[in-house]
């Protein structure tokens, strides 16, 4: 126990600590979850987390839905980077159904997923800025998230909860506007990100606030099941994209940035570097996409009529297409029996899908490995003994997304 600063008269039944409810709807929590903090002055003695305020029973709902109807559920896990969740789900289904996707689909998926990673990290890092009292960077980078959302809008029609892609590929080919916007993003974002870094990276006040707070060792981080940027900040170079490549990530050259101390500053820096790596991956993928010539250049889905909806004009004119359309929409296709675990590198860690199929038309059991649900339990250990204001920054630098945590 730290030294108590409140001195009570002999025999008093008063507490020497103060209980503070942080949340459930405090602006600093960036989501609906509660922390019951015991404070000694401004130091945290203990922290108890309450979560589940937006629990929507996705795992239960998924047991009565055919595969393609589960994609919109995954949107609502980490809603800062929905496309990664969607792609993670599609690749899980493809693994279960043994579908292999064309290279062009993989590269297009990589572009979308890396844009999502940038959108996710951009929000997290600029929110850390907001929580330390610097609002400018947040507003400044926000216009580039807007641009990313516009690209997604061109590809799938929606912005936040994207439901992007289908089992086997994309619902439609990327149009010219999407590529133009992508080029605009690739051209303008590096400069904006550099300016953002100039505001924060070597800013004395910012460094003082972040360095040495919310520290975790690599060993503890692993034991707590940390993944993603939070684990890498502690110095472990585990990245699902490299360890278990999916969507042809093995075709790309990139670095896994790692930190050393696992504090807030390292987490911020790792995310910052990952954005640069993502930019480089997008450039490589875009170049590869442009290299496809002839008929290959128009491929945007695998040939899997059992799972991929036929073109609408065929549905109206051809018998087979009408049958497939009906069977897919009604969810009348039996899955193979088996169990599969598949994971992707989500915005804040390893997003896993554990699917058990009993041969029915819906999963018998579907479990989501939600990275921030798993690492949020380390929060007490991260903030114990530190100041309340450090806990706020730790909360935002962990990138906790209530939707993902509560599933």
């Amino acid at each position: 126990m730290p030294e108590h600063h409140i001195k009570l008269p002999e025999g008093s039944i008063e507490k020497t600590t103060t209980t503070l409810n942080l949340g459930p709807t405090h602006p600093a929590t960036h989501g609906v979850f509660q922390n019951i903090l015991e404070l000694d002055g401004e130091r945290i003695v203990s922290a108890e987390q309450t979560i589940g305020y937006i629990h929507r029973a996705f795992e239960k709902i998924a047991e009565r839905r055919p595969l393609y109807q589960i994609t919109p559920l995954t949107d609502r896990l980490n809603y800062c980077s929905s496309p990664i969740n969607n792609m993670g789900w599609h690749t899980t289904c493809e693994k279960l159904l043994k579908i292999s996707t064309p290279k062009r689909v993989d590269y297009l998926r990589v572009i979308i997923m890396e844009l999502a990673r940038i959108a996710d990290h951009l929000i997290c890092n600029s929110i850390v800025g907001v929580d330390t009292g610097a609002y400018t960077g947040f507003l400044y980078l926000m216009q580039y998230r807007e641009l990313i959302y516009e690209i997604w809008e061109e590809v799938c029609g929606s912005r936040l909860t994207t439901n992007i892609g289908r089992i086997g590929g994309f619902e439609r080919n990327f149009n010219d506007i999407a590529f133009q916007k992508l080029e605009k993003f690739l051209e303008e974002y590096p400069q904006a990100l550099r300016e953002f870094e100039n505001l924060f990276q070597r800013n004395r006040i910012f460094m003082e606030r972040l360095q040495g707070t919310g520290t975790i060792s690599a060993e503890r981080a692993l034991n707590y099941g940390f993944t993603g940027p939070n684990l890498r900040a502690a110095g472990v170079d585990y990245d699902v994209r490299v360890h278990s490549p999916y969507c042809s990530y093995e075709d790309f050259e990139f670095i896994i940035p790692v930190g050393t101390t696992g504090d807030n500053y390292d987490r911020w820096m790792v995310r910052e570097q990952e954005m640069w790596q993502s930019l480089s991956i997008i450039k490589q993928a875009y170049r590869k996409v442009q290299d496809f010539k002839g008929a290959e250049a128009d491929v945007y889905h695998a040939d899997v009529p059992e799972y991929y909806l036929p073109p609408k004009e065929d549905v109206y004119t051809k018998m087979e297409a009408l049958i497939w359309h009906f069977k897919i929409i009604m969810g009348e296709i039996n899955m193979p029996v088996g169990e599969v675990y598949h994971s992707v590198e989500g915005g804040n860690g390893e997003l896993g899908f554990y699917l058990i199929s009993d041969g029915g038309r819906t999963p018998y059991r579907l479990h989501f490995r939600r990275p921030c649900f798993i690492y949020y339990q380390a929060f007490e250990e991260l903030v114990k003994g530190s100041m309340l204001s450090d806990a706020i920054i730790t909360l935002s630098s962990l990138n906790l997304i209530a939707g993902e945590m509560d599933s």
Binding site: K60, Y224, G225, Y341, I356, R369, Q377
Partner: protein
């Protein structure tokens, strides 16, 4: 030397004999079953062994198989050896009437909330857990909602049943419920008792 599934299997059989069983490799991941009393021994062995080094708990999930008598509930551990990049899946089964399983929190801090979640949804009692209480559902809830006897759809509907999901008729929940003798189920939650109109 690369760590192969065959080698892991061989080491497990050397150590635990025929107590570990049901080996399979769905989609390349070594999957096996251990008796529920041995879960900690096996997890510890996999963790401590200098060659196996399964020191990362990826995830932990419950599953309910209402029709397999005496082994209705399952706990599935996904472990990862980050050095050799090998994943394995370990399963234990328990009777729904006495769902006591030793907690893995002593070995993995990550298991804390995962076990609370499994308790919350399946009612698996993790013996020795430091803080086993509900995590996502409200504390007042008196049933375990992910168990299969709680159907998602309104069971009084006749236009939609499990047959449409390729499982040959209703799974038989509701009729078999009393056979399991689950005292935790509130009668009010029994579907179809409210006399809802058929849509």
């Amino acid at each position: 030397m690369a760590l192969t599934n065959d080698y892991i299997k061989q080491r497990l059989i050397e150590k635990f004999g025929d107590q570990v069983g049901n080996f399979s490799e769905p989609y390349g991941m070594l999957t096996f079953e251990v008796p529920k009393d041995l879960n900690l021994k096996v997890l510890n062995f996999l963790y401590d062994d200098e060659e196996l080094k399964f020191r990362f708990l990826t995830t932990l999930a419950g599953v309910h198989y209402p029709h397999s008598k005496g082994r209705e509930l399952a706990v599935v551990y996904h472990l990862h050896n980050l050095v050799d990049n090998v994943r394995i899946r370990l399963k234990i089964f328990t009777d729904v009437n006495q769902p006591d399983v030793y907690t893995a929190t002593g070995l993995f801090s990550a298991a804390n909330w995962l076990e609370r979640e499994t308790y919350d949804f399946y009612g698996i009692n993790f013996v020795g857990h430091p803080n086993l209480k509900r995590i996502l559902n409200v504390d007042e809830m008196d049933y375990f909602p992910m168990r299969k006897e709680y159907p998602l759809e309104d069971q009084t509907r006749i236009d939609k049943d499990d047959e449409m999901f390729g499982r040959g008729g209703m799974l038989g929940f509701g009729t078999e419920r009393t056979d399991h003798g689950q005292s935790t189920l509130a009668e009010a939650d029994k579907p179809g008792t409210e006399g809802r109109e058929i849509v």
